[in-house]
Amino acid sequence: MSVSTRLAEIRPARSASIDAFWGMLLRDLTVLRRSMGAFVVRTIAQPLMFVFVFTYVFPKIGQGVGGQGAGATAFSSLLVPGVVAIACVFQGIQAVALPLVQEFGYTREIEDRVMAPLPVWGVAIEKITSGALQGALASVVVFPLATFIPATPVRLDINWLELLTFLPLATAVGAALGLAIGTRAEPRQVPLVFSIIVIPVTFLGATYYPWAQLDPIPWLKWAVLLNPLVYMSEGFRTALTPQFPHMPVAAIYLGMAGFLVFLGWLGIAGFKKRVLS
């Protein structure tokens, strides 16, 4: 029963921080495991509907994008990378931003983790890591949907080196975006975040068309470079469906790395601002 006899020893900051980091990751994964059903539902709802309507219903009723035959095949293949990229951004919002809005809200649930022996920026990095892991899992869930639902065959030509480097980068960018949003938005602003950020980002993210084909609308082509999702979609496009035109690979790496640094910095700064005064 005694409190004093076995008091905590002071451990080196480094190993205490690493343990705290793993503890938090374990916590997030436990929460994820216990709500796996909800995770799958929230992950597949949007892409399932989208893929179903555009690549199954439309070709069957002879209407819509790409028409029938070769055009339809092209469109259903074109969609795969976009759908995977959107899944990464959605995870960033759903696995990082929305929980953070609550944890920073009136419950201040984040406090116990902030009081753990690791620097405040470490807690923020943990959030990005756990969001990225959930983003990767979401991509794995969404990928077969986009591949097997379409009525017309999907043609993939996977470049594994690119896929395995773009995937962690893209999921981390999605999670960093979630952190940046989650540390700045108030609970009552959540609906606004969806209309002002999530919807434009997904529709103008080179997800449903290759970025290079925006040539006829030059202003849009250059404006969307400010959208991190463009690099994620283009990355998955070169890695999965290189038959379509895409941005130079180096530009994609650069864009994703740049946004990771920028959004990560924005998120960590926002995080610090919310917990320290």
């Binding site: 029963m1 905590a8 451990r11 916590r27 419950t107 201040r108 649930e109 406090e111 022996p117 005064s277």
Partner: protein, 327 residues
């Protein structure tokens, strides 16, 4: 109404203090001096109280000692370490219960304790054992699997307390541990705190309930507007009032005049007008009430209500500030 306790014990640092502040100051954006040149030391095994009204700077003081608020100037030390320079080591040594329920809503009661242990580097079996042991000890075992939102306020507070000591901190910070609790839950929490104290736990708690400070704390620092007004044991603080009896008189009419009039009452040391009544401080309580009524009514006042008590820590606060703790 100068009070001698203000200087002497406050500025005398304790050797081997486990908590120490030196001229600790926090100025928030704008120019709110939330904490203003605070000097405190708390020794090992002590239950130390920070008593003050809303906005006195209690939470800000605890925030600076627990690394979440950065001091504008001055030092905050735990176990001799500056918390700004050594936040990691400081966090390992302290346990914190905040003013509001910050339990992790995504986890069960048991999980809250378990993962807290993991954050502090405990192995899975250690954290498991410790979580179950503490729930048992705080009589919460039957709630182990409960969701946080299903707990009553008193239970949530006990879970917070249990969580804060999972990693066996040397120093425990409790910010208004019983605010908003019903009297029964408050007593239950006091019991738990006494138990922790007898096991050797150092505790710094903040409160604006004078009873809590009187009942639990060895020493109490009275704060107002970020400044330390007095610091001593509850008994010595009450002695500083210089009276053994406090009579409250509620009456119609000009209370300032009534206070003047009662100052000449036999045995009265001083009076104060607070909260729609006059407080008369006196030595000797035998047969005082009827004589106070006579005295007041002799001067043309109609007494509406009257009560008598020993001086409390609130009397001390009134003496120091002319206001009561609730204002």
């Amino acid at each position: 109404m100068a009070v001698e306790t203000a200087e002497a014990p406050a500025s005398r640092p304790i050797e081997n203090a486990v908590i120490q502040t030196r001229a600790l100051t926090k100025v928030f954006a704008g120019s709110i001096r939330a904490v203003d040149g605070l000097d405190l030391s708390v020794s090992e095994g002590e239950i130390f109280g920070l008593l003050g009204p809303n906005g006195a700077g209690k939470t800000t003081t605890v925030g600076m000692l627990t690394t979440r608020v950065l001091p504008t100037s001055g030092d905050a030390l735990v176990a001799g370490m500056n918390v700004v320079e050594n936040p990691n080591a400081a966090k390992q040594l302290i346990g914190v219960v905040s003013q509001s329920n910050t339990l992790d809503r995504s986890l069960s009661v048991w999980d809250n304790l378990y993962f807290h242990g993991r954050y502090f580097g405990m192995s899975a079996p250690d954290a498991r054992g410790r979580a179950s042991e503490l729930l048992e000890r705080f009589r919460l075992s039957d709630r182990a699997a409960a969701e946080i939102d299903a707990l009553s306020g008193g239970m949530a507070q006990r879970v917070m307390l249990a969580r804060s000591i999972v990693h066996r901190p040397r120093i425990l910070f409790l910010d208004e541990p019983t605010a908003g609790l019903d009297p029964q839950s408050r007593l239950a929490l006091w019991d738990v705190l006494s138990e922790l104290h007898s096991a050797g736990q150092t505790i710094l708690l903040t409160t604006h309930y004078m009873e809590e400070a009187e009942q639990l704390c060895h020493r109490v620092a009275i704060m107002d507007h970020g400044k330390l007004l007095a610091l001593d044991s509850p008994t010595r603080l009450k002695e500083s009032v210089g009276a053994d009896t406090e009579v409250r008189v509620a009456a119609d009419g000009d209370l300032e005049k009534l206070a003047d009039c009662l100052r000449s009452f036999e045995g009265a040391t001083h009076t104060a007008v607070v909260d729609e009544s006059v407080r008369v401080y006196l030595r000797g309580s035998a047969g005082v009430l009827p004589r106070v009524v006579d005295h007041a009514e002799g001067a043309g006042f109609t007494v509406k209500d009257l009560s008598l008590s020993e001086p409390t820590l609130e009397s001390v606060f009134i003496n120091l500030t002319g206001r009561d703790l609730r204002e």
